[in-house]
Symmetry: C2
Amino acid sequence: MTTAALIEELKTLVEPGKVLTDADSLATYGKDWTKHFAPAPCAIVFPKSTEQVQAIVRWANQHRVALVPSGGRTGLSAAAVAANGEVVVSFDYMNQILEFNEFDRTAVCQPGVITQQLQDFAEDKGLYYPVDFASAGSSQIGGNIGTNAGGIKVIRYGMTRNWVAGLKVVTGTGELLELNKDLIKNATGYDLRQLFIGAEGTLGFVVEATMRLDRAPRNLTAMVLGTPDFDSIMPVLHAFQGKLDLTAFEFFSDRCLDKILDRGDVPAPFETRTPFYALLEFEATTEEVAEAALATFEHCVEQGWVLDGVMSQSEQQLQNLWKLREYISETISHFTPYKNDISVTVSKVPAFLADIDSLVNSNYPDFEVLWYGHIGDGNLHLNILKPDALSKDEFFAKCATVNKWVFEVVQKYNGSISAEHGVGMTKRDYLGYSRSAAEIGYMKAIKAVFDPAGIMNPGKIFPL
Amino acid sequence: MTTAALIEELKTLVEPGKVLTDADSLATYGKDWTKHFAPAPCAIVFPKSTEQVQAIVRWANQHRVALVPSGGRTGLSAAAVAANGEVVVSFDYMNQILEFNEFDRTAVCQPGVITQQLQDFAEDKGLYYPVDFASAGSSQIGGNIGTNAGGIKVIRYGMTRNWVAGLKVVTGTGELLELNKDLIKNATGYDLRQLFIGAEGTLGFVVEATMRLDRAPRNLTAMVLGTPDFDSIMPVLHAFQGKLDLTAFEFFSDRCLDKILDRGDVPAPFETRTPFYALLEFEATTEEVAEAALATFEHCVEQGWVLDGVMSQSEQQLQNLWKLREYISETISHFTPYKNDISVTVSKVPAFLADIDSLVNSNYPDFEVLWYGHIGDGNLHLNILKPDALSKDEFFAKCATVNKWVFEVVQKYNGSISAEHGVGMTKRDYLGYSRSAAEIGYMKAIKAVFDPAGIMNPGKIFPL
């Protein structure tokens, strides 16, 4: 069957106009936020129901057509890039919150629901959806589940995994599974729901997800603390964790602050400049909590771990302090940064960061290295900025060499080569630095169980 | 090879004296707390290291010998019963806490560590292991992971799954997998750790687990509230959840209280007798929190949801209130109870309980039905006491009929036939009431991936 004939058949499975093949659509829906692969899908299909998704998967099985699921396309690992003539299955038209239950504190979402849409919905109900990150305004719940999205509140609320009460998925054979039925306790064999979370669409597609909501946080308050070196950040974390229930503990280097202040629209946290900054957040539910925070701050100053600091006194100040951290990624994007998203256990972070820092600095003294990330989770974002003197190609070629060294250090520290961005295509060749050959073998066997024809997002996680 | 010759070979794989075949040992190590199956293992083996576990599994593969893992033997689904000539692998000699990290708040445990041993260890370190249940003094961490143990603090802390940072497992082929490396964020493909949690030893054996610890709770305070009917318990839960971060929300019927008071060693919570009681717990960190609790109590009384209540004012009173709930299982055990451990989503609990109550009462008016459980998680323990007039055999035969009806109601409400006790052998024939044929098919295929020879706890979860 010719591709044209296949696409004609595909059109019969969905509503009129819900298969696109124009060049603009192919370019738009064929990619995510990564820039390494040229999009080359053969068509984009927009199902509006679970039955249509099942029909598409059965059709793809019959004709051995590869499918790529597409959400908000904000991914950073090319897991939603269609670079090999695949059909992209976009969930843009399955974007409704179908049900809400105030006693269960759950919302039943279609996969195309935008993260912020769920956050706003929860707020309207006096509740809270706590998974949050820079791309929450575009990313979709289905994609969040596929990558087990993390972000800035993980230290308190955990990953997306913690908030998935139940899943409906269509497997690689077109079968519909209703997993866990939204139960809190359910000890009836293997929890298949967990397999689909973080599987990047390689086992099946999420067609419905029941998401848990939490009570709304009360009087969120942030502190930004300047530290004399990176090593001081860990005892600061430890001291505050012993006294407060933190909702976030982030960090960034002074070089990051430079870039933010250059914007001109974000005020400096305080006058003193220090090599690193910690941003922590907690619920100042009572006067006592705020006092404990200040006492801990003073203790950290006495110990020499903190040189200066500020605590938000209003919602506006809270938001301004968060901008110092949340605007970094967007602000540095025009410097063509080479990004790595790596993690180790929290206690290993200082030695790990020092190792990588010295490795990059000694080999590439002209590279500007920017560090920031979710230090309370052991998750570091390593960003190397392109020197003006280097062409993009030269720069990325050198970075590929750096990559290998970085991952060797990650392996030495028993860490992860992808903390929260997933594997997709950008990390698949490096998977062996974080997973053993035996593990990869078992993963491939599991993929074959759910996707025997190998049509579900092939070439992602594992090489083709 | 004869069984005797096989056992001689097995003895060469472990330390001298670490294979037992005497009748007492076979009877003791061949069973758990269920009484439905006669233990009949051929030997008990006690490995002392991961290497010995691997050697045992490889030997079992070679000779096609079935293995049954054995922990504290407190299970209630016969998942650790060896009734078919299997070799029992006991983890009693792999019972050390190997490492502690105060910055990561983790403890590396061998599988034979007793739950309470970890709780006490955490307390010594100023921290807290929050998974708790009646058998915590005997149950082992390996068994807790195998059944994804829940218990009384799930409403705040979640199941055992939430506290497993990393796992080392030996698969059915004897391969050692190191899963997740204790990382908080790790997006490198399928999270195989999750598959082994709750797998009841059918995919492999846990040989090491890194468990997370939490900060210690502060000034735990309990309330017991008497309600005029079951339906009033749900608005009480809702009201308190809106105002406090609950650490527990349990319930029991007045018939349960009867049995507890008959013991003579537990004081009544208050004079009024009411059909049902809720027990809730929270951290009274400040005066304001305690005041919010009392204001909510008064609101519930005004609404007619609560008839009487008490709040603990001391550690001793806290413990006495908990005895009202925690002693039930042990207290009713000599009435030969027929137990069921079922769950639905929280919002469905009242209708579900009423349906089952009327079903049992209308068919067996002479049966005494006792309800208690973890209402905040939707988890109900249904206990039917044997009437004196019936023999044990007659009683259990009638209960088997009840079972089917109960599970039909569970299915109607989209619930679980085993909330936290697992499937083992007692629920395997009923699995279809909670999992679809397609799901069971996928589960069996996954089992074949990790245990191709079918030697790992065969006959558990799925029929032989």
